[in-house]
Assembly symmetry: C2
Homo-oligomer: 354 residues x 2
């Protein structure tokens, strides 16, 4: 009776039920878990009271006892980012399926924040980590420390070649190569490549793909057609291509490391009177939503974000539940990209392959 007057009712515990029913805590626990040792009659009484009190087991106590939290954490350089959102969606899907909670944090490509977050996330709360390192992460001592501590983790999207650990990445090399081969098949011959500063692993792989495609089709490599940009924005792409055109450089196509760069390139070409795709072909990378919205629509290399997230999560949970450390479980899964041909690179006529 009087208990109801209490404004702030404490969370009920097994002990409360036990005392109310004059039985032991152990019995309550077993009754709620439908243990055969407990009589049906008592089970009923216990469950009744548990429902009335709105009893929910205290997960902090459970995970403390089990030393398992059923939580994993994601370390991502960016949150407001179409591709990373996609990956996160895949992670959440798989985690939900397996009953795991997912903590998220953003590093903004800053090593300090990366280190800080990883440290905070590993102080016992999470069973494992999904990490995408930042573009500037060359110092990998924090990852090596993770390994030493035996904390399960999986690297995703960005490869870190210097560390042996489970990884899930996208086949940037083949993706880029396929894209450039497509441009070549469409008859473009002077294909420029727009990339960022080039330090990131992905950038290098895509450049290699570009080079391989040229080589395979016996197209001479022109160094001046590969542009390193500080920025991967639309404006940067626009500016780069405009300068090239102004300088009189012969160029009839662009393969860009980003959809945004590609769109900038496309706009610059059009602004200078070139028709896309007739005079100028463009292929981007990532298949952002905007690729379908620009005119002409942008051909691009799609990365399987959801699949990547799912795969990484599956691997991580497997490591956790089999108690395998990252060290003894190094295997790199490479996911296929898919070339999506849209209007910006499809001349709609049969092209003789050289």
């Amino acid at each position: 009776m009087a208990a109801n007057f209490c404004v702030k009712m404490k969370r009920p515990r097994l002990k409360d039920i036990a005392e109310a029913l004059q039985i032991s805590i152990a019995t309550v626990s077993r009754a709620l878990k439908n243990h055969p040792d407990i009589s049906d009659q008592l089970k009923l009484r216990v469950r009744q009271l548990a429902d009335d009190l709105n009893y929910e087991p205290n997960n902090m106590a459970l995970q403390f006892k089990a030393q398992r939290s059923k939580c994993i954490a994601v370390v991502s350089p960016r949150i407001v980012h179409y591709y990373f959102s996609t990956i996160l969606k895949g992670i959440l899907q798989e985690a939900e399926k397996q009953g795991y909670q997912v903590a998220v944090c953003e590093t903004g490509h800053e090593l300090i924040r990366e280190v800080k977050h990883i440290k905070a996330l590993t102080q016992g709360l999470n069973d494992g980590l999904l990490i995408c390192v930042g573009n500037n992460t060359t110092d990998i001592r924090h990852l090596e420390k993770l390994q030493k501590q035996g904390i399960p983790f999986v690297l995703f999207d960005k490869d870190v070649s210097r560390i042996k650990a489970p990884k899930v990445v996208v086949d940037d090399y083949t993706g880029a190569m396929t894209a450039v081969e497509h441009l070549i098949a469409q008859g473009y011959r002077h294909i420029a490549h727009l990339q960022d500063n080039g330090v990131a692993h992905t950038s290098q792989k895509r450049l290699k793909g570009y080079l391989s495609a040229l080589k395979k089709h016996r197209i001479p490599y022109d160094e001046s057609l590969v542009l390193q940009l500080n920025d991967i924005s639309i404006a940067a792409g626009y500016e780069a291509v405009e300068q090239m055109i102004r300088s009189g450089k012969k160029m009839d196509a662009v393969f860009a490391i980003t959809d945004e760069l590609a769109i900038g390139a496309m706009k610059a070409a059009m602004a200078h009177g070139m028709a896309v795709p007739q005079d100028f072909g463009v292929v981007g990378f990532s298949n952002w939503q905007i690729a379908t919205l620009v005119t002409p629509s942008l051909s691009t290399v799609a990365q399987p974000g959801v699949e990547l997230g799912q795969t990484a999560t599956k691997m991580l949970i497997q490591m956790i539940e089999n108690e395998q450390s990252a060290e003894e479980y190094h295997l790199t899964r490479i996911l296929k990209t898919q070339l999506i041909v849209r209007d910006s690179s499809f001349r709609k006529r049969v092209v003789v392959n050289t």
Copy 2:
């Protein structure tokens, strides 16, 4: 010596340090916490060994003891969504600042998943919740239950008028009104409104803003200019406006509930030979990234996503740390939107206000 041969070294505990140093666990704990009761000499030895063993306190034990996890959880309808990403970024920023971990989950606007996730997230692991209900959430018993349990939570973005709880929302009404007034000021008179099925609180507020603007400027309300669509995609916007044009309906502008709808509308108008913004004005809602990329660029109402996330998080953490339940802390923060005028609605001439 032999311990080093052990392949899988267990995580060191205070007990391990204590035994190695032949002192009590309590002393180790105090030494590491720099308690004045412990001699500097012993502190040094303890810290030395702790460092050597790479000791990190077990957070599960800590949070179990304190019954505080320093974790909050976010329940969001969508993950791959520009606006929600922005909000999440704000949440993560504020949480990082205050040392909280953030768990995330996606409901996909499905009530069942919403209920399930909220239940899972509240079984003790999180100190509080940030919830954006789905569009179809009319049954709010799960929220009422949260209140009864005294678990702190803040509703964000979507208002749920039937429940008294702390909320952070955006001023959809004024945002919509300002947008429509802008169209009116630009001289448009036959302004259509594209909305979704209209059940969501935000949809209703925006419709009201639309109506208020018309009324204020003495423009007769034409019911047939308000279209409820099943879908908020570009295609849906395109189709809706195309049908209107074909039907011969007089219409010279669109205010859409979404940037995507607005872009669809714009493309439809242009496809039918109308010049934007000369013959046809368009304003969207949300300021997605694509708004700047379409031609002409899209005017839109920007929602302060980061600010919203930060505000909600601040409120939640305050509730947690002051032990205020959602019931006794109901206050609704309404954040201002900002009209961003771009090419799709700016006729670039002085317009006499009627």
